[in-house]
Symmetry: D3
Subunit: 110 residues, 6 copies
Amino acid sequence: MKELFGSEPKPGAMQEDFQDITAEHLFGDIWTRPGLELQERSMITVTALTVLGREQQLKTHLRGAANIGISRKKINEMMIHLAHYGGWPVAVNGLRIAGEVFDEHEKNKK
Amino acid sequence: MKELFGSEPKPGAMQEDFQDITAEHLFGDIWTRPGLELQERSMITVTALTVLGREQQLKTHLRGAANIGISRKKINEMMIHLAHYGGWPVAVNGLRIAGEVFDEHEKNKK
Amino acid sequence: MKELFGSEPKPGAMQEDFQDITAEHLFGDIWTRPGLELQERSMITVTALTVLGREQQLKTHLRGAANIGISRKKINEMMIHLAHYGGWPVAVNGLRIAGEVFDEHEKNKK
Amino acid sequence: MKELFGSEPKPGAMQEDFQDITAEHLFGDIWTRPGLELQERSMITVTALTVLGREQQLKTHLRGAANIGISRKKINEMMIHLAHYGGWPVAVNGLRIAGEVFDEHEKNKK
Amino acid sequence: MKELFGSEPKPGAMQEDFQDITAEHLFGDIWTRPGLELQERSMITVTALTVLGREQQLKTHLRGAANIGISRKKINEMMIHLAHYGGWPVAVNGLRIAGEVFDEHEKNKK
Amino acid sequence: MKELFGSEPKPGAMQEDFQDITAEHLFGDIWTRPGLELQERSMITVTALTVLGREQQLKTHLRGAANIGISRKKINEMMIHLAHYGGWPVAVNGLRIAGEVFDEHEKNKK
């Protein structure tokens, strides 16, 4: 979780029980399973959030993707591909959010 | 397209104009773009089809995934991960279809 | 309703209360409102059912579309267009179902 | 409607015809049917809006839920449950909106 | 799980790891949490599956609902209500599946 | 594209490759195909975006619809119809956005 998001979630950021379940089950038990590289888990998470139109979580996971070294170019390419499976609008939104996230990410690195 | 599906689509399998657009635009122009490996395109396509519940196309693209060497173990792992982003039912369906596709694929290889 | 589907729904085809609400409210009050031609209502209904992946109802309403004189060519064109807004799979499914419906419709006319 | 939302909708809040249909058909004819308690109708409405990601209407109906005495604890529990059927993101959004609505509701009661 | 479905799942019914996660996490940790009655969990699960169009899982959970004593009348009423939040087609499908499940359930009881 | 949106898209409004694909493939090759009138393409695009809840693109295409002479009355009627196929919330959102777009459109014409 820290590797992906650069920090632990702030206390109070989520309802307490759900934060525990998320930390223990989703990030503790699922994201750490073998069989997929962290970058692969990040790519399929970004894909799912893009085509389902979950924009807030997409932003969070695009930040994660940038943190673990997935390039802006690769994300853009994913969005162009996904336009054809989830429809143009999900790619328009995905590319806009990716643009914001990577602009911010590159600014922070300087 | 042949690399992925093992054969060219049969004439008459789709409405003619749409088959042309699919062959030229989607498989000709988009799937061949640089920036993503073929296996990566396959993985994000399978992901999109899984969470959107497009079962018939998921079956086709899981066959493609098997053809280009993505393992059953990796697909299973993707489905377990996606249960948490698209809901349990999309993973139940995805794992069932993947089971059928990989059973068939392994039988054909013998 | 009869104009669209060629017959009244059979008793017992739907749960009774819901059939009444559908007949009175949806077909009685909504489909008969001025402001849209019957063909326009049919086109937007087919569009909604296509992109939402409601295949059974899509089949019913494609039969309705054929009954009121919307051509196979127009429906095909709609599906090709919608591939770009709802994703390729909804058009693949829509064109397949439209093919079945119009084949049947043309056979019945002879 | 007044029981649920604490007031009648303001004139002009919605397009006029649709406001009439909503008041007469949806709230007049459907919400008042026997067979489900008002609290049960509220719970399934909140559930549908959560998993479909209709955030604006979810906010309105969470206010309704609070007005008719459904507890914050119960809503939180529903969201944790729904994470597993609609995916984590719908629960994250649902819990955030529920947090805002119940904070406001408790403040207004004082 | 046994209370709801009348039996434990057959070995091999699901991919093994996912079956373990489902049994331990979803049915073990989540469905047993306090804060919602079993009937309430069943009702919101049925609601989510209905509006998301997950027909296979809906059938399974409608059987569960019947097993724990939720009446056909109540399920029908839920579907009529949900037509207005998820669209007519999800209710048409939900009522058809509920009809099959409750016919079977009543036959088995005799 | 210019006929629909009143202007060419600003450079930099979208990721460059995707803007090219959109201009050449979607607007160049698809929207210009015979078989559907421009107004019909606009109507089915608005319908798809409404029921899929793609609000930002819906706003853009409602502006397009107004530009090519589709009336506010017709759009309102479409939304009332679509409430019954995509659920009430998509119509509430669609009517709100249409209200904003047509208010702006009528103000600009004076």
